[in-house]
Symmetry: C2
């Protein structure tokens, strides 16, 4: 019997894969489980976008162009103007979600054995795309004390090695919800330029920036125009994860040419998804404004609860819909399992993602968890009731840390 | 400015990429262009399947499970029973087309530098997926004289080297339309077993087998049950290329586990595509029977015309909707270009794929072209009129070969 490949054996498992069957078991036993573990929004997909698919008069669902329908790419150029980014449809290659976008970006820009620097914690699946492309991610560790802000450029520069070919950032960030300022990005651009690196920027949460902060795309960094590749997706902003529509945006013709070659190999991104995506861009701002307000309420709800929990260290995330919180516990994986297997408060519990899977450096994230704000505020309050009670009764709680920590969450 | 990767520069271009702008130019100049170059069927997608998408009452287009909707996988198990293949839904992982299926299969089973043996000519994009996975395809050359049948097992066995880990076949075949018999496949299974290889089988054209031949899936080869991976897609059988729905079928739990890890990384196959695919499997046989009859008429139309063209060597393909024909010409790439740039018959010309791109061995395919039967018989007749006239007037035609060749096409 032939053996599967090393990469097949080593491909990382999802941080909550082991927890999923436990959640099913808890539900089967009649427990209510609040899912704060996944990035699947509960917000309705724009009805007019779904309606566009229903009204489609296609009789042959043909391949779209490999780079995506021109009409959709044209609408995307108009969309990016909202963020003061000027693009041409030829700068955009439509992909099957942000996942494919990042994989193609890695393949086009990096040779096997090359390295990209990424602030950690980072979206766990980046490790998998790196494995698929045969490249390495070199982490630089962020700190919860400043809400996991982009590390100082000195730290990034110190990580540049002989095989370093790029930097990978997520802004606003998953899993931390941190938001990178124009100034930090400009400083990063200097490093990118100085070391002739690629800058891969996952900007899928750009619509969700709070407290009046203005999102600043790396596509605006004129000095590194030929270095940047932006990864996009409609999954989160239009709550359309199943459409599988993303994009890569770049200005460097050689990058676009290389990505186009890979895009042509897989023939076409999904047809109906593009119809939906195009219709979503025809809406006025009301939908996104409302969604953003909803996420804003949710992050405040979670923040206000976390700050009152003894020994919890957290912060008010500036973007996206996640928070990466430190708990007074022995081990996040054990705690998350315990929540599903052994804990119950008023007939309910919660499922959250243990922090370890979001770090590349071994040993980190053991007391941290990611919370995704994909429930309405009423349910979030109940989930926070569960968390508060769980922390009070968890056998592995760390009394010393609870005493040491004073306040809890802080508004940065 | 950072340089793109070697693989980004080396990713193979489509065999007709250079021709596409010439076709556009010809059309702009008022010439009718018969497209026999692409695998995009002109057959309508099943109306009931499109209707299922229109009737969908989803309000949140969420991620499907990474392995695909269970309801669709259940219907696929029923579908495979038609081919005497017993599967369980857990043996099936739904993918974003056959393209992703093959890439994930390579990643899961092969390490960088490993080698798979494939009969050539083969689907040109296999080279690209191999490049993406960092593996090599070792070609064994088939012969037009026997309609590009599977080479004898001795030839396959002779190609097994120290890094050989698999065999890749396409049955029925793109680009040749050849059909592999149960006996050839059983002989192949012995080699696969003896050398402990994987057998990757692209069976997306299984519905289109002619002359009463019964399709025999490698999933029926009991002796190599743990070695086989079948690649599937609804693109061709339901004329739904833009749905981007394929699948991998395997029985070996280690293979399924490895593929599942990669599938989870990219989160989910397209949602609407799966709804369409599921509805297509609810139809009775009438749609596919009719499509098959149509392709049967088309292959006979082309065959009957090719056999009368002096110096043309061809055959009646047993499956799929392609024919790989040898023409009395100097160079297929030059000829295909000339067809678009300099030739016209009754205001029309045709676009076909030069043979070279379907070979991995250098120098082969220079006089061969792939014809795709994606036009109705009336248009195919007109396209054959063009081809006949083109061969009579092409400046690079080979008089000696026209005289040497007697009949032309043969029914095998």
């Amino acid at each position: 019997m032939p053996l599967v490949s090393e990469r097949g054996q080593n491909a990382p498992l999802s941080p909550f894969r082991k927890l999923a069957p436990l959640a099913e078991k808890a539900k089967a036993a009649g427990k209510k489980v609040y899912h704060l573990n996944i990035g699947q929004p509960d917000i309705p997909t724009p009805p007019s976008a779904l309606e566009a698919v229903r009204r489609s008069d296609k009789t042959i669902l043909e391949y779209s162009p490999a780079e995506g329908y021109l009409s959709y790419r044209q609408k995307l150029t108009a969309y990016f103007r909202k963020f003061e980014v000027e693009t041409h449809p030829d700068d955009i290659i439509v992909t099957t979600g942000a996942s494919e976008a990042l994989l193609l970006a890695f393949l086009a820009c990096l040779n096997p054995g090359d390295e990209v620097i990424a602030p950690e914690p980072f979206y766990a699946n980046y490790n998998g795309f790196a494995l698929m492309a045969g490249i390495h991610i070199r982490p630089i560790t962020c700190n919860i004390e400043d809400g996991f802000d982009l590390p100082p450029v000195e730290a990034i520069e110190a990580a540049v090695g002989p095989r370093t070919r790029g930097v990978l950032i997520t802004n606003p960030n998953n899993p931390t919800g941190s938001f990178y300022s124009k100034e930090s990005l400009e400083a990063l651009a200097d490093v990118v330029k100085r070391h002739d690196l690629f800058l891969f920027a996952d900007e899928v949460y750009r619509e969700f920036c709070f407290d009046g902060q203005e999102f600043y795309s790396v596509l605006r960094l004129q000095s590194i125009r030929d270095h940047v590749l932006v990864v996009d997706s409609i999954s989160k902003r239009f709550s359309a994860c199943g459409a599988r529509v993303g994009a890569i945006i770049a200005f460097n013709p050689a990058i676009l040419e290389a990505i186009n070659r890979f895009a042509k190999l897989r023939l076409s991104p999904p047809g109906f998804g593009q119809i939906l995506a195009e219709a979503a861009l025809e809406m006025d701002d009301a939908y996104l404004d409302e969604v953003k307000e909803e996420y804003d309420r949710r992050r405040k709800t979670v923040f206000n609860r976390l700050r009152k929990m003894p020994g919890v260290i957290s912060y008010l995330p500036g973007g996206a819909f996640y928070c990466f919180t430190r708990l007074p516990i022995d081990d996040a994986e054990i705690f998350c399992r315990w929540l599903l297997e052994s804990f119950e408060y008023q007939g309910a519990t919660l499922m959250i993602s243990p922090g370890q899977g979001f770090y590349a450096s071994p040993g980190l994230g053991q007391q941290e968890v990611r919370l995704a704000f994909v429930l309405n505020t009423a349910d979030l309050e109940k989930a926070m009731d569960c968390l508060e009670n769980a922390l009070a009764t968890y056998p592995g709680r760390k009394e010393a840390e609870i005493k040491a920590a004073k306040a809890g969450a802080t508004a940065l």
